[in-house]
């Protein structure tokens, strides 16, 4: 998606170690119009997969999942990383290594909002190693739901997430796919024309 790639080139910062800082429009400050455009694009790409629910992980997945939900007319569930007091004692819980946090985090979903038979579209901000998305897929499977699609704003193809998710055999879409980051140079899989 041209608009997102241009924004990454303009404002994204390679912090080294595979970390791309996009705090000015995704992860701390959010550009609502860009996020809405990304949701519209996800809705276009996933309109025919028969999804019944969108699943994401707090925190930074919420914005793109919400705008996708607006355009597809589907409820959004965000997996919690800490069990709130409003959640029942029996939950779906899995552990997932977090690259940017340098530790394992919990992903928790209440059985109230993920039922057997649901067709789940996973939306997240990043597809890197695929660990978070695999965690969400495990939770969905435990609930008896089926994952029918995966969408990420930004894919870092050099971290192998797409391969790690290949066995799911479902469409995986990213709106900006980064092939490499060397110093200030960020290269996309499809060359962007500015």
């Amino acid at each position: 998606m041209k608009e997102l790639k241009e924004r990454i080139l303009r404002e994204g910062k390679n912090l080294g170690g595979g970390i791309l800082k996009v705090d000015s429009f995704v992860n701390h400050q959010v550009d609502p119009h860009l996020m809405d455009a990304c949701g519209l694009e996800f809705a276009r790409r996933f309109k025919d997969i028969g999804a019944t629910k969108i699943l994401t992980a707090e925190i930074s997945g919420i914005a793109p999942a919400l705008t996708t939900g607006i355009h597809l007319g589907l409820p959004v569930v965000y997996a919690r990383k800490h069990k709130p007091i409003t959640m029942p004692d029996q939950v779906f819980l899995t552990l997932s290594p977090s690259h940017t946090k340098g530790r394992t985090v919990e992903l928790i979903i209440s059985p109230e909002y993920l039922a057997g038979g649901e067709r789940v579209l996973i939306i997240d901000d990043f597809l890197a190693s695929g660990a978070t998305i695999l965690g969400l897929a495990r939770l969905a499977n435990t609930a008896g739901a089926v994952i029918v699609g995966i969408g990420a704003l930004i894919e870092k193809s050099f971290e192998g997430g797409r391969q790690a998710l290949a066995h799911l055999n479902i469409p995986i879409e990213s709106l900006a796919c980064i092939r490499s980051m060397e110093g200030d140079q960020i290269l996309f899989e499809e060359q962007v024309t500015l």
Copy 2:
């Protein structure tokens, strides 16, 4: 706002101790269309205050802040509760007691995204004691920004947040204002007609 109040009456659960569970449409599962309608309503109420930025706190404030941002055409910043590795070492940080967490949480904003002179509209899911919103206001003031409005999806007027924020002398809007919760009975300040 009729649609939100009806939803609270239909799906909200009084868990006791002043805790209202709205996990099925706000805090864990999100209804994107309802959230979009709430954003539109906030945009209508705050269209003339000259805001330049929307500020909220992760996690549950993100959805209503984002839809308000879409309709007002303003960037959204969400205060983080844990400093991510993408954030610089020098940050604005304040402590805020969390009623639902039973402990103090940090609210952190990078100076990159909150500058002196900004006119800040705070949007959050709940206005209860006002502690989180006061924390956000402290951060904004430290940054040299001015708070020009406060919006909450759900106000619990019996927890006194509006009084705690009165000294700010700015418009405070809630879309559903709960006067009392007794057992299964949730009463609004303005009686809702179903």
